[in-house]
Symmetry: C2
């Protein structure tokens, strides 16, 4: 159900390109722009119009979707790149990039001054979720803005309005906090079990299906047992997310002892083993086993 | 498939009674004993023979199942209560109680001297799992002992041999480490999200189905959102398990920073709120939110 929405997509990288394709498949009229123009041009074969600059991408859009690297880039593209000024009053910007909470709120306030609504709408699920249109999309903003963007968001995954402006980024940080510390808890338990004389693969199997079960136990736990730390999710991106989470927690006056512990361990891992997979936290805990118990 | 095994069950409390019933339903000949005799007598209606003392319960058994409070009680019932001396050589003791690793290994060694095999076989799944015969049963011991006990264990849940003597208790401690710290990570994330201005129920819903998903997010996360801390699993039992885990980790030379953090938080929770549900860790983190961010 395309419902006639005209959509501009700013940023067609590893995540943005499959998301734009899913919008096209759902029947929306999609105009794309990317800093490296070739990545946008490749989407012409899928039926996208290719814009020469952010302003041209935004000019006729009812909804602008951003999928960019960080908050500074989003700000530059929207406000310095001319997209915001080109938008018609009544349009909606859904920023699906993972950026700081304060940046998202600042963008919302500046767009409001132009009569444009803003949703922060970061996602979880990675490139696999982007391709399968199964992203978890955590939205912050008003009900009316969410209602207008919803048909397009549903073409990319499972959108949920979690609160006012900034709340989507808060939910994404909460997601990262749980992910990072669950990886740590699973790594700690498997390192302990092996050091104490049990078979870690069988222990992981025994824990599966019980109270200790989680997506992390399945995916990352499996990589730990297999000693397979080839990078799917980078340690450096985990550190970035945890730093943002701790900053946001401090601003909110909230305690974050697990995130703090996880950040220290991931930093030590990066220093010792480089930018391995998140599951590499097993290496950091394994390194701390006393050689002569 | 009862396969002719005669089973003695020592301890028919909240866990042992439904486990004995599942053995009877599967067609095994079951003799039961319990310190509070009325709890054992109640199983006569289900077809159990009721023994007057542990020795009588064990005398004709091919397999003795223990489900008792702790290692000291298991030792007293087996060795002071006369069960071990009454056992025929070739019998198997499956101790499904959660006890210390060293105690389990000590019991195994003492029984080996009598020609009796020992499995440590603690469980995860609680009374719900005991009733539904869906317990995760983590076994430490030899392959032959596991093979002999397996038909009976399968009538109570999903048994898995995870290593030699003691490994079942190690797996149970690993399970508790993951459970405790996942509860902490979920509580921290939900407290943060709310303090920062998002709706915690919606954030939990948004996290479900993604990388942050877990049994704990479903069950305990739901209780945190509903502010429902009525006790299903006691804070005091969580503390007992974490103390055992940290002792075992120290003995193995393994680091346990997440379990250590969780133990401190659960102790503070117990001191402030009493013996509430494990999900009450939310209360402890919520208490630490600065009143004026």
């Amino acid at each position: 159900m395309a419902e006639g929405l005209r959509i501009g997509v700013l940023g067609t990288g590893l995540m943005g390109a499959p998301m734009a394709r899913n919008l096209l498949r759902a029947g929306f009229a999609v105009t794309v722009w990317n800093r490296t123009a070739a990545k946008a041009a490749a989407l012409a074969a899928d039926g996208a119009r290719v814009a020469a600059d952010p302003a041209a991408c935004a000019a006729e859009a009812d909804l602008v979707v951003c999928m960019l690297e960080n908050g500074a880039v989003v700000g530059a593209v929207l406000f310095d790149g001319g997209a915001a000024a080109a938008l018609r009053p009544g349009a909606v910007v859904a920023d699906m990039s993972s950026i700081a909470v304060d940046e998202a709120r600042d963008h919302a306030a500046r767009l409001a001054g132009l009569g444009v609504a803003h949703l922060d709408a970061p996602v979880s699920g990675g490139t696999v979720g982007a391709e399968a249109a199964s992203l978890s999309i955590m939205c912050g903003g008003t009900e009316p803005a969410f209602a207008r963007a919803r048909p397009a968001l549903e073409a990319m995954g499972r959108p949920l309005l979690v609160g006012p402006s900034g709340a989507g980024q808060i939910a994404k940080l909460a997601n990262q906090m749980v992910v990072a510390s669950t990886i740590g808890a699973v790594a700690e338990a498997l390192v302990f079990a092996e050091a104490a004389g049990a078979d870690p693969g069988r222990v992981r199997a025994a824990l599966t299906g019980g109270f200790a079960d989680s997506r992390i136990l399945e995916l990352h736990g499996g990589r730990m047992v297999a000693r397979d730390f080839a990078t799917r999710g980078k340690t450096s991106s985990q550190i970035k997310d945890l730093v943002n989470a701790l900053r946001a927690a401090e601003a909110a006056g909230a305690p974050a002892p697990y995130a703090d512990l996880s950040l220290g361990l991931f930093r030590d891992l990066l220093a010792a083993d480089g930018d391995v997979d998140h599951s590499g936290l097993w290496l950091e805990l394994r390194r701390r086993v006393a050689s002569t118990p």
